[in-house]
């Protein structure tokens, strides 16, 4: 951007501009509107009118301004002049003769009027030119840059200690450094020492605290053990008491039961045995099975013996009656015989006197035991001649 400072008539002209490329020049005049635009890059115009070029005599230019402060009235007048000049220039531009406006439906175009037509273009002809350099050689190392010597050589002599005095230059810095470091170190050491002291106190406290804690726990544990022991003992004691009580009760119950049962047992046994709950199976069998059978058998036997006796009685009666008959017959015969004998005796008494005794004894035998004889006959069949008389007597006795 070109900045053209307004030139003061009194001051020197100054100009400052950014470097810029030269704009391509148009072949034709631009439209008025564009030309008036002051913002666009102004092309370099005629040097004759360039205000940077000083014209005329310069001797009179460096006159100092009469007044440092420019006259405001003068300034205003100048501005007005400038404005008027611009307005005039604009009016002149507009007054410039132009081509008449085209007819309706047409428009202006550029036409060449030269003899030979040539291609028209806005562009300026350009032609590319090339050239090829040789391949680069290896670049030699750039020599050490030594700036060109300027000025005048002047020499002076400096003695030791003139420029750099260690005591002056370094001592304060060193003092500051050392002082700061020591101060810092002291702070840190103090901090650490404080911490260490705290730790030591803490440890001393903890030593006591731990011991007290352990002592407390130990006593707690002791107390717990004692309590447990006590409870265990109490429980044991309680159990012993309970057992004792139980035993006493048992003994009492036993005594009571014994006394109660003492007369109960015999009575119960008595009742029970009375009721027949206790029995001897053999005896019972004998009683229940054998004795009735025995009785039956005895009855049967007795019946049988009665029957036998009845039979015997019948037999005896018949026998007796028959014997009676026989004996009657015999008596009759005897009587007859005696009569005959008596008759015979009377005949024979004179012949055999002893025969009479002998005959007399068998007769008595016969008279004395007629039943015996009958029985002898009976038992002849049984072939028990010796026992028969006794049996008979017994049987007779039973009857």
């Amino acid at each position: 951007m070109t900045t053209v400072l307004p030139q003061k008539p009194e001051g020197t002209y100054t100009f400052a501009s950014q470097p810029r490329a030269v704009p391509q020049r148009k072949k034709y005049r631009d439209s008025a509107a564009q030309q008036q635009n002051p913002d666009g890059p102004t092309s370099y115009g005629n040097i004759m009118y360039d205000r940077r070029v000083v014209r005329g005599n310069t001797y009179a230019q460096h006159t100092l301004p009469a007044t440092v402060q420019p006259d405001p009235l003068e300034l205003q007048r100048q501005q007005e002049n400038r404005r008027r000049a611009i307005a005039k220039k604009r009016a002149k531009d507009q007054l410039r003769p132009r081509s008449p406006d085209p007819v309706e439906g047409r428009k202006h175009i550029d036409v060449q009027t030269e003899l030979y037509l040539e291609e028209l273009s806005d562009r300026v002809e350009e032609a590319d030119q090339e050239c090829q350099t040789d391949a680069f050689l290896d670049r030699p190392p750039s020599p050490l840059f030594i700036p060109a010597k300027t000025g005048i050589d002047v020499a002076t002599q400096i003695y030791e200690g003139d420029l750099f005095d260690f005591d002056v230059e370094c001592k304060p810095i060193l003092e500051v450094l050392v002082g700061k470091t020591v101060e810092q170190a002291l702070l840190e050491v103090m901090e650490e020492e404080e911490l260490a002291n705290l730790r030591q106190q803490q440890r001393a406290f903890e030593e006591l605290r731990n011991v007290e804690l352990v002592e407390q726990q130990r006593l707690e544990e002791q107390e717990r053990r004692h309590r447990e022991e006590k409870e265990r003992r109490m429980k044991q004691q309680r159990e012993v008491l309970k057992k004792e009580k139980e035993t006493a009760e048992k003994i009492a119950a036993r005594a009571f039961a014994q006394s109660y049962l003492a007369d109960l047992v015999p009575s119960v046994f008595g009742t029970l045995s009375d009721n027949g709950y206790f029995f001897d199976p053999v005896e019972r069998d004998v009683e229940q099975g054998f004795l009735p059978w025995l009785m039956d058998q005895v009855t049967v036997e007795l019946d049988r013996s009665e029957l036998g006796r009845l039979c015997l009685d019948g037999l005896l009666r018949e026998l007796v009656s028959r014997r009676v008959d026989v004996y009657k017959q015999l008596d009759a015969e005897i009587v007859q015989a005696r009569k005959e004998e008596a008759e015979a005796k009377k005949i024979v008494t004179e012949t055999i006197p002893s025969d009479g005794d002998a005959d007399a004894s068998p007769d008595t035998d016969k008279e004395k035991s007629p039943p015996q004889a009958a029985e002898e006959e009976l038992y002849d069949d049984d072939q028990q001649p010796e026992q028969a008389p006794s049996d008979d007597t017994e049987a007779a006795q039973d009857d």
Binding site: D167, V168, I173, V176, E188, E191, R203, E215, Q217, R225
Partner: protein
């Protein structure tokens, strides 16, 4: 050559790694502004200067008032390692003061700090753990850590971290377990501590023993300690060369042997002769813990029978110049000579 002349021009930056402090009460606001700067170099230099500046306890309150703590919280997520590590260091220094701890809990800075536990840079991790350790020193801080469920994370880290970080974690857990032991028990901390008892560094051994002591304060902890077989290891530690290891091993034994199971395990591990040797130790803490442990062991009939031979040695300490030791010795003698 000495003269009063002072060099007219100091170098502009005497220490190029630090930003120069502004004068007086402008120093902190300027640092705060530079902490939030977009330029990495400015942030780095500011955080370096701040770190040194905060070491003076007089500056803590002002920096918290200015909001340095919030800026540092933002810097914890910085992609640059130097900034992160110095920011954690600053927080660590601040956490060393009550005000700093309060602001820490108020701003919930614990959460971004805990993210740094996984940082690839060991120094940043160490500083982060230091911060958490400092926070955990007060009961409210320890409670905050327990509530944020960091105990589990810390126990996991305890198994994989570097040795110096392990020490810090053990300290943190120590303080946390003063507040709550359940979360540590759930995180299987007892097993982790038992493993650390075999560590070659005495500091870690003593801290692990101390943490076992803390963890076995509740009944479940004692049972767990017996189950882990910690007693045998602790017994071996009783003859350690370092005083603190001996003291804390004896302390852990005295805490575990409260229970009957612990007593008998300890008696079978032959701890009584080792503990009797410690009764005449120079360090009062060792003496105290050993006598207490013997008192606990004497409550078991077997222990009492064995200890009756050493009763004179303990009786000598009833006139110990430390009142606590003398008191403990009197109790011990009473318990040992107790007759049913």
């Amino acid at each position: 050559m000495a003269s009063t002349l002072i060099s007219a021009k100091y170098p502009t930056n005497i220490d190029a790694t630090k930003t120069p402090l502004a004068y007086g009460n402008r120093a902190i606001p300027r640092l705060n502004r530079e902490l939030n700067d977009a330029n990495l170099l400015v942030r780095q230099r500011a955080v370096m200067s701040l770190c040194d500046h905060l070491h003076d306890p007089e500056h803590i309150a002002e920096s918290i008032r200015t909001g340095i703590d919030k800026s540092l919280k933002g810097l914890l997520k910085d992609p640059d390692i130097t900034v992160r590590q110095k920011a954690t260091e600053c927080l660590c220094v601040m956490a060393g003061h009550a005000l700093g701890r309060d602001s820490f809990l108020e701003n919930e800075t614990i959460y971004p700090v805990a993210l740094l536990f996984d940082d690839p840079e060991p120094i940043a991790r160490k500083n982060a753990h230091m911060c958490v350790m400092m926070i955990s020193e007060t009961p409210p801080g320890a409670e905050g850590i327990v509530q944020a469920q960091f105990v589990d994370l810390l126990v996991k880290k305890l198994q994989v971290e570097l040795d110096n970080i392990k020490e810090i974690i053990l300290d943190t857990l120590h303080f946390c377990m003063r507040v709550d032991t359940n979360s540590a028990l759930e995180a299987n901390a007892m097993e982790a501590f038992t493993v650390l008892l075999k560590h070659e560094l005495p500091t870690i051994r003593f801290k692990a023993a101390r943490d076992i002591m803390d963890l076995s304060v509740p009944l479940a902890g004692k049972d767990r300690a017996v189950a882990c077989g910690a007693l045998q290891l602790l017994k071996d530690m009783l003859s350690d060369l370092t005083t603190e290891v001996r003291a804390n091993a004896a302390g852990a034994i005295m805490t575990i042997t409260i229970t009957t199971k612990g007593k008998y395990t300890a008696i079978h591990a032959m701890t009584i002769p080792a503990l009797v040797n410690l009764v005449d130790d120079i360090n009062s803490e060792v003496r105290l813990n050993a006598i207490k442990a013997l008192t606990c062991l004497a409550e078991a009939p077997e222990g009492r029978r064995e200890l009756l031979q050493h009763v004179e040695q303990i009786r000598n300490h009833t006139k110990d110049h430390r009142e606590a030791v003398a008191h403990a010795a009197r109790i011990a003698v009473k318990v040992i000579t107790w007759l049913p």
